[in-house]
């Protein structure tokens, strides 16, 4: 009797459960053969030696002269057409062509972009340095050179070069071209612009495409300070002031989510404060904040990507951190 009772009580429950979870669930239909086919295709492709890219300039619809003209117009610059072609000619291409010509028994002289690239690199380096010194007047030279190294690194220049559409136009032995060739082509383009339009146009070109990459980036990240607290005390010592850290807030002490706030005081005035999961880290963060204030590179710093002309270098009034 008892058993029956139990069963009866459960019958409505089971029917309810059936209603809640229908046996047929609507799903996106992907055929069972799709995945195995794709896998097989990939295996076969790999067997043949990976994916093959056909160079854009071997297509039927390709006109190098038109591409070079459009390249200049796109960037709103007047290039000397011969120089621009030379800037796009990589050394590897010249070697390959010379070999071909030797086989055929003809000899046509071709210029590669090495000279233009070295000119361009020199110009970019100097201009970026001067520009950064002007827009970050209180930032130490080590920091400025850190930012500069980031901006003129092969990776950064190759990224710019790729998005200016040089990838298809570059004459190189290989395709797709690697980062070194892309960056080199960009430097050569600056070199070509330097020769065809002069310093100021080239400077504005570098400003608009190289320095504009700083947009949205924190300049402090390109310079690693090992011990910010010590650096701060040294700077303050020169000014004749002493630094006093104070614990001004704590939460969740003795837990894994502890948070401390340390304020740094000079003559009973708070110059900065920092947070951290331990007092030591909070002190360090506070020192970093204070250094940012001293260097004029706080988070709310106003960027300047619009300086006209080539600024004059002035490296006299700067904190010489390395010397101390």
């Amino acid at each position: 009797m008892n058993k029956i009772c139990v069963i009866r009580r459960f019958i409505p429950l089971t029917t309810k459960a059936m209603k809640c979870y229908p046996t047929t669930v609507q799903t996106q239909k992907i055929h069972r053969w799709v995945a195995p086919t794709l896998m097989e295709l990939k295996v076969r492709e790999k067997k043949l030696g990976g994916k093959k890219y056909s160079p854009r300039n071997t297509y039927l619809e390709w006109n190098l002269e038109a591409e070079l003209y459009a390249f200049g117009k796109r960037l709103n610059e007047d290039f000397d057409s011969d120089l621009l072609l030379q800037a796009f000619t990589d050394r590897s291409y010249v070697i390959k062509e010379e070999q071909k010509q030797k086989d055929l028994g003809i000899d046509i002289k071709m210029k590669d972009n090495r000279e233009l690239a070295s000119n361009g690199e020199e110009f970019i380096k100097n201009y970026v340095q001067v520009y950064l010194e002007t827009i970050l007047p209180r930032f130490p030279l080590e920091g400025v050179s850190g930012v500069r190294e980031h901006l003129i690194s092969e990776e950064s220049l190759a990224h710019v070069s790729l998005h200016l559409g040089t990838k298809d136009i570059i004459l190189a032995a290989e395709y797709p071209v690697d980062r070194f060739i892309l960056a080199n082509a960009f430097k050569a383009i600056v070199g070509a612009l330097l020769q065809s339009s002069g310093d100021e146009r080239a400077a504005h070109f570098v400003r608009d495409f190289v320095i504009a990459q700083l947009q949205g980036k924190d300049v402090n990240e390109f310079w690693t300070i090992d011990d910010p607290y010590e650096m701060l005390t040294n700077i303050l010592k020169k000014e004749g002031a002493t630094l006093e850290p104070r614990l001004i807030g704590e939460a969740g002490k003795n837990t894994i989510l502890a948070c401390y706030r340390v304020g740094l005081y000079v003559e009973k005035k708070m110059i900065s404060s920092g947070y951290g999961e331990s007092i030591k880290i909070a002190k360090e963060m506070g020192a970093r904040e204070a250094l940012k204030k001293i260097f004029g590179t706080e988070d709310h710093m106003k960027p300047n990507f619009q300086l006209e002309g080539i600024p004059k270098p002035n490296t006299n009034i700067r904190y010489q951190i390395a010397a101390s």
Binding site: Q215, G216, H300, M301, K302, P303
Partner: protein
Amino acid sequence: MSVFRAGLQRITNVLKSSPGGFLSRFVTNLTPVEDKAIPQTSKEVIATCNKLIEQNPSRSFAIIHLLGKQWRVTDGDLLVVEGYWPPNIGDKITLDKVLLAATKDFSLIGRPLVQPGLVTVTATVISKGLSHTRTHFKKKRRKQYMRINFQRAEQTMLRINSVDIASKINKPASNVF
């Protein structure tokens, strides 16, 4: 009847309450604000703000009104506005309806707009295209009702070039429009 009369009385009272009648309130709103005596402390605050703008060029942000929406913008932001909008790519435009502008140290709040000419927000149109296809699918069960619509909206991408506050807070507005 008496209720009606009382209501009429109230309306006439409202009309008479301000000198020049009910309409004059709208009229006075359009005339330039009188140069009322500003308390000394607020004068100092305004002077400090003006000085801050000149001395300490901190990043500033603004809340602008654009195509029926409010956006918080600062230098270098990207916005996408949807719907038909005439500006074409490469156009440089200024966004004039500024509801609020602020720097690190102070905020200017418009009532409802910050005075014209004080804040300049410039932007460049960098892309104009169509969004992905949005599917609108409606179905009523057991009612033989099913509709399917596809639509793509126009999208315009803007780059905010600069948000600048001129150091002339509380100077009477000149008519820039």
